[in-house]
Symmetry: C2
Subunit: 221 residues, 2 copies
DNA sequence: ATTTATTTTTAGACAAACCTAAAAAAAATT
DNA sequence: AATTTTTTTTAGGTTTGTCTAAAAATAAAT
C-alpha cells in the first residue's frame, strides 16, 4: 500500500499537492521555485515519483499527483497541521512560530502517534492558521471563503484563514489584532496599488497591501 | 558553537555516549554492532566526527566523545527521554511502545520546542524506563542503583530502571507487574544458569533469566 | 514560417552514508 | 620469535538527492 517515503519525496509530494490546487497541472519550474531547488533536480525526482505510481507525469507537459500520491499528500498535511495545533494549543507557541518546527515533525512516521495525537487534541478541525485538518482517511473539508481583497466595501466578514506561512506576515497580523475568527470590514479600496483600508471593531482603521489582502481569507456574514 | 548534525551523526554520537559509559574507550566493532552497520562505515564516520571536534579518535586504539561531543549526546538523550515521557504520560502509549517513535522525534531540532515541551510536562526527572532526563544545560543525575542480579537474597528493593529498550522485555515485565517503583525481593539464585526466583508483594513468585536480571536495576530499601 | 526566447530534460559531477573486498595493524597463539 | 587470528583501516563501488552546463523541446515573437 503506502510505500516508505524519504523526507525529500514527502516534501515534493506536499508541494505538488499545494501547487495543483490552483492550476490544471504543475510545471517543473514552479515546483523548483516552491521547493527552492533547481529544475534539473525536480525532473529527477519526478521520474522517481512516477515510478512509484505517486505521480502522473507527461514530460514537457506537466504533472499531477496520482490518486495514491494525493492520499500520501493529505497524510503529510494531516501530520503538519495536527502538530501545529499541538504547538499552539498545548505548548503555547505563537501562530507565527510553528511552521518550521511542524516542517520537521510532519516527517515522523507512526500511524499510532498521529492517531493518538489527534485524540489527545480532541480531533481538531482546523490548524492555527485556519486550514482544515484532514482526517485519518484523508478526508478534508475546505471552508467557504474568499480573499479579503474581493470582499465588497462595508461588508462585515469573519477571518477564516491566512494563506501564507511567513512568520513576518503572521506577526504583522497579530500586531493589528487580526486573528482567525476576527470580524473585519473593508472601508476603502485604493486603486493605484490595490491596497485596502481595513477596520476592526473598536479599533482605528489601518492599511493593508494587496499581497496581504490576497492572503487573508474571509467569510462574509 | 553547536554545528548542525545529520541524523546519522546524531545516532553515532548517541551510541558512542552509551557505549563509553561501561568502557574506557569504545571500539570500532562494538559501535558497528550497536548501530547495526559495518565497521568500514564506522571508520568513515569517526573521521568526520573528529574533524568536527566531537570525537577524540586514535586510529586502531579506540575513541571517546570530546567535551563538545558529550554535550551534543546529552542533548539528543534529553530530547529522546522527554518525548518518551510525553508519549506515555500524555498520549497514553505503553512504555514498551515508545522507543522507536522517540528515535525519530529526538532528531527534530528546535531549542524552543524542547524547552516548551519540558515545561509543559512539568520538568520530569525520569523517563518511563527510569532513566534520568538531562536538563537544558546537559546536567544529568544518575540514580544510585544496582542490577537485580546483584541484590542479596531476601532483601527488599525498589525497581529504579530497566536498561533495555526491547519492546518484548518491557511487555514481559508489565505482564508480571514489574514497573518502575515496584518493590521486589530475590528469593533464590539458581547457579546452573544464574537465573533468579523473584517475588512481588501479594503475588506468586516467578522466574527471571540472567539477562533479564541484569537489565532490571534496583535500589535496596 | 523562421528566428528567438523560455522551459524542460539529459549528461556528467559531487557529497553523504552506506557497502564489499583487500590490505595493514594489533592481539593472541604456538 | 614466528605464526595465526582478529580488528581496523583503506580502496573502490552504490544510492539518494543535489548541482552546473549543454542539448532538446516547446512557446513566443518577428
Ligand atoms: Mn504550516
Ligand atoms: Mn498551518
Ligand atoms: Mn528509548
Ligand atoms: Mn527510555
Amino acid at each position: 500500500m503506502s510505500p516508505n517515503l524519504s523526507v525529500a519525496e514527502e516534501n515534493y509530494i506536499k508541494s505538488i499537492y499545494h501547487l495543483q490546487q490552483d492550476a490544471e497541472s504543475v510545471t517543473t519550474n514552479a515546483l523548483a521555485d516552491h521547493i527552492k531547488t533547481k529544475p534539473a533536480s525536480v525532473t529527477d525526482m519526478l521520474k522517481k515519483l512516477q515510478l512509484k505510481n505517486l505521480l502522473n507525469y507527461n514530460p514537457y507537459k506537466g504533472f499531477r499527483l496520482s490518486k495514491e500520491g494525493n492520499k500520501a499528500a493529505l497524510n503529510i498535511i494531516r501530520r503538519h497541521r495536527l502538530w501545529e495545533y499541538f504547538l499552539v494549543n498545548q505548548l503555547q507557541f505563537n501562530w507565527d512560530e510553528v511552521h518550521d518546527v511542524a516542517e520537521q515533525l510532519e516527517h515522523v512516521i507512526s500511524r499510532k502517534l498521529v492517531d493518538k495525537l489527534d485524540a489527545f487534541l480532541g480531533y481538531p478541525k482546523f490548524d492555527p492558521h485556519g486550514d482544515p485538518i484532514p482526517d485519518g482517511n484523508g478526508k478534508i473539508n475546505y471552508q467557504q471563503q474568499m480573499p479579503l481583497i474581493n470582499l465588497p466595501l462595508n461588508t462585515a466578514a469573519i477571518i477564516t484563514s491566512v494563506q501564507n506561512q511567513s512568520s513576518d506576515l503572521l506577526a504583522f497580523l497579530s500586531n493589528r489584532d487580526m486573528h482567525i475568527g476576527t470580524k473585519v470590514e473593508v472601508k476603502q479600496k485604493l486603486n493605484f496599488d490595490n491596497s485596502l483600508e481595513v477596520k476592526i471593531k473598536n479599533k482605528q482603521s489601518f492599511h493593508v497591501s494587496e499581497q496581504v489582502a490576497n492572503a487573508i481569507q474571509v467569510n462574509p456574514l
